[in-house]
Amino acid sequence: MRSNAANYDLIAPPSLEAVLAVLASEPGSYTVLAGGTEIMVALGAGRLSARRLISIQHLRELRFLSASDDTLILGAGTTFTDIRRDAILASEFPLLVQAASWTGSIANQNRGTLGGNIVNGSPAADSPPALLAYEAELTLLSSRGTRVVPYTDFHLGYKRTILAPDELLYSIALKRSYQGYKTYSRKVGTRKAQAISKVAIAALARVEEGRITDVRIGAASLQDRPARMTATEQAVLGQAITADTMQRAREAVLAESHPIDDIRSTARYRGQVAANLVEEFLRSLQTDPR
């Protein structure tokens, strides 16, 4: 059953400052609504529990891409279409652009925002594995002030984050230091276009003289939150890419994955496929040294 829209309130304060003031005045009583590609689905299905919502979709202050020599900053209101159109992202952060192209349809990419994809906290979301691999940093704003946190610390569990009730995700910063890195990403789902993933991996590595000298692997749907595969990274760091390394990587993937059975897939399938993806990543490093 669809919800009755008349039972919900939505406000759209004119500025970022005004939004923060509302969040501060009644912490926890408003749910933030950006592009609506998640919350409006819940409304349509009659399972939107939040009754008071606050729109940030119109805030120009949140929709920007700004580059300095060493950092690229994306406003939380940056849409997936914005991400797919940016030249710096295309050349330096292909994992994020690839993730944006996997996120729903064109219509959803025109509305959905990077900030919403993060704050919604789904373990299956498309952009988090890439942001984990790139070691993104988040800037959180409230009337009390600003804090900058590593993205790896943001998710606490299934749909739980460190965001305080009066806080808003303001921006996502990426260090521009991945020249010479090889990247790999793959999403496994029911359908190539716009299906929610069964499992997904975004990874990058630097290989010098046949050995992996830096590596980062982000994963979706392997834990109760988007997660870095740190044990797997440790298993291959400093190693030559041999059959033995791949075997140890596969074991590490299975050891640090805690997937679930749900409508999209099974835990067993997810674990096996994740191990296969990581092996495919390692093989890609081996076959085309740069």
């Binding site: 409006m40 919502l53 729109s55």
Partner: protein, 160 residues
């Protein structure tokens, strides 16, 4: 209730509506523009696609408050985009001629998604067409005739 002013197919409107009411429902119920269809109601099928300030969106996922001051084009207004007094847009004509429409439920969304696609890629290749329409599901045609219609529309635009 909120007061919303917006322009739909060139006509200005001022409405008193609940702010969370879906744009889809405002179009169909308040403005009687029933050409926009509801399929899944969750952003998967694209039947409810409209242009919002020129961007393709699923109107089932847009709360009407977020359309304050916006310009919207629905299937009823597509012909006008081709020129004043036009009965059919070239895209509509090509869907007719190539059997791109069968039961018709997905067609309004397909036409608007095609319009958005051809603005971006005036001469799209097949993979660009497939990606551009990936958010619009059709259970009748098997898509082949739709792709042919889109290619014909692109040729028509290109030969102008």
């Amino acid at each position: 209730m909120s007061t919303i002013t917006l322009t739909v197919n060139g006509e200005p409107h001022r409405l008193e509506v609940p702010p969370m009411k879906r744009l889809l429902d405002v179009l169909r119920e308040d403005l009687q523009l029933t050409g926009t269809k509801e399929g899944c109601g969750e952003g998967e099928c694209g039947s409810c696609s409209v242009l919002l300030n020129g961007d393709l969106v699923n109107s089932c996922l847009v709360p009407v408050l977020q359309t304050e001051g916006a310009t919207i084009t629905t299937i009823e207004g597509v012909a006008d985009l081709a020129g004043p007094g036009e009965r059919l847009h070239p895209i509509q004509q090509c869907f007719l001629e190539h059997g791109g429409a069968q039961c018709g439920i997905c067609t309004p969304g397909m036409i608007l998604a095609t319009h958005h696609l051809l603005e971006k890629y005036p001469q799209p290749d097949l993979s660009q067409i497939q990606e551009g329409l990936a958010g619009n599901l059709c259970r009748c045609t098997g898509y082949t005739r739709i792709f042919a219609a889109v290619q014909a529309a692109a040729r028509m635009e290109g030969s102008k």
